[in-house]
């Protein structure tokens, strides 16, 4: 079945006109540390994805019409590096052998960084793998939440990992989770990442999601504090001419300017845009966090298993149809009710589920903070508020309408 146009009436008329963009593979749910805000429920389970599942991924999924000519494979949903480089040499070979020769696979690791070594860097380099490193800013912020099970901070090990990556000139980005503690310290965070030579920063908020049922950001006035943090970060970025690319700032500007010319794709609400597979071969789509989520009505969110089901089975399963229909209803409600829909595309299903218990709802804390507050901020910046006008030495204002920052 070609993945074009409308799926079927049973899927809530959900359209998925583009191939899968991202494949999240859970090589293991185990994690060697125990962050305070982690949403994964099974991070003490020492299981690993066996060859049989990797072969099914290659033989069934990567050869299916769900996949186009290129695909990012993100090893995540546990600490992938606990399995060692040899595991991935084997896994990469299985996927490459079974996938069509025309398919370009890009491997990415989302890691806490504590296990990165020269051997790991050799693997990253040999396979042109991209590394996403979790670091929550300066030590006093990072070690408050990112600790081992015995309570020790992991900051020093992450710094060592960054030094290794720099030494081998390996590209990496950082994910920094912002909690309420962080929001009044934008200068400290900016200078920290600047000094580390980080060029790509992704700020995640502490989310109510999965097994994490609380967030320090779930309090009155947090949207303004979040906005203030990013506003100051933006000003420092502009003033310094920093090479940092900050997802929340740059991508929001891009979406604001591009949303009419280029339709917004929300990879979390589009069926099969994102696929997630756990160690046992269970498959889910939409938000990757859904694979580990539980719900009274749906049970789990796996729509099938690659060891026992064919891709066609997954695409036409009643479970998928029910999930897709409820998510589509939520997206439709967002489209009707929310002015920010053109730059959002319907929010995050896993956050809707965690906060409201359903997928067909609209606004969440996640929306208010990461979409609305950030869009408001960047609209203000683009309109040329006084902060921006005076933000960089040498800026000249021409007739009060234009900027020159060179």
């Amino acid at each position: 079945m070609a993945i074009e146009g409308t799926l079927s009436s049973t899927a809530g008329n959900a359209e998925f006109a583009s191939p899968a963009r991202l494949l999240v593979l859970q090589s293991t749910p185990f994690c060697n540390i125990d962050c305070s805000y982690c949403y994964l429920p099974d991070r003490t389970a020492r299981v690993r994805m066996p060859d049989s599942v990797l072969e099914a991924i290659a033989g069934k999924l990567l050869r299916s019409s769900l996949v186009g000519r290129e695909l990012s494979v993100l090893w995540h949903a546990g600490e992938p590096l606990v399995l060692g480089p040899a595991y991935y040499e084997n896994a990469f070979a299985i996927l490459r052998k079974g996938a069509p020769a025309s398919l370009a696979l890009t491997h990415k690791f989302q890691t806490n960084g504590t296990l990165i070594s020269d051997q790991w860097c050799d693997l990253f380099k040999a396979h042109h793998a991209v590394v996403g490193l979790s670091i929550d800013g300066p030590e006093r912020f990072h070690d408050r939440h990112r600790r081992t099970r015995s309570g020790e901070g992991t900051f020093a090990k992450v710094l060592r990992a960054i030094a290794l990556l720099h030494a081998q000139e390996l590209p990496f980005y950082v994910i920094c989770v912002l909690t309420a503690d962080s929001l009044d310290h934008a200068d400290e965070f900016f200078e920290f990442f600047q000094a580390l030579g980080v060029t790509r920063v992704l700020f995640n908020m502490e989310e109510i999601e999965g097994s994490n049922r609380q967030s320090s950001l779930n309090q009155p006035g947090i949207e303004q504090r979040y906005k203030n943090f990013l506003s100051r970060y933006f000003d420092l970025l502009v003033q310094s001419g920093s090479s940092q690319h900050v997802r929340e700032l740059h991508d929001t500007v891009s979406n604001i300017l591009a949303h009419r010319a280029t339709p917004i794709h929300n990879v979390l609400t589009e069926p099969f845009s994102t696929l997630t597979i756990d160690t046992a071969g269970n498959v889910s789509t939409f938000s990757p966090e859904l694979l580990a989520a539980r719900d009274e009505r749906f049970g789990g969110f796996a729509i099938g298993n690659l060891l026992t089901d064919e891709i066609e089975d997954l695409m036409h399963s009643p479970k998928f149809a029910g999930i897709a229909a409820e998510i589509a209803a939520g997206v439709d409600a967002c489209r009707r009710e929310c002015a920010y829909f053109p730059v959002c595309g319907g929010g995050s299903p896993s956050n809707k589920l965690a906060e409201a218990g359903r997928l067909d709802t609209t606004e969440t804390l996640y929306c208010r903070v990461t979409v609305k507050a950030v869009t408001d901020l960047m609209l203000d910046k683009l309109a040329g508020d006084e902060t921006l006008r005076s933000a960089r030495p040498g800026v000249t204002v021409s007739g009060g309408q234009d900027f020159a920052a060179q």
Binding site: I264, H265, F403
Partner: protein, 64 residues
């Protein structure tokens, strides 16, 4: 024009800025800038002068 760090720059034509400042709601502001972006009157370009349009909201992590 202003630089978003040393890699990206934003340029908005004066007439668009005027419309943007006169817009009162989020919907109106997005409409002004979306229209300007589609006709090249508001641009985001990289250091090589190439337009940057991910066209994708909230990619999961940086995985795509």
């Amino acid at each position: 024009m202003f630089a978003l760090g040393n890699r990206l720059s934003v340029k908005i034509e004066p007439a668009v800025l005027s419309d943007l400042r006169n817009a009162s709601t989020v919907g109106e502001k997005l409409a002004v800038l979306g229209a300007a972006g589609s006709r090249g009157s508001a641009t985001l370009k990289d250091e090589n002068g190439v337009s940057v349009h991910p066209g994708c909201v909230k990619p999961f992590m940086d995985g795509n």
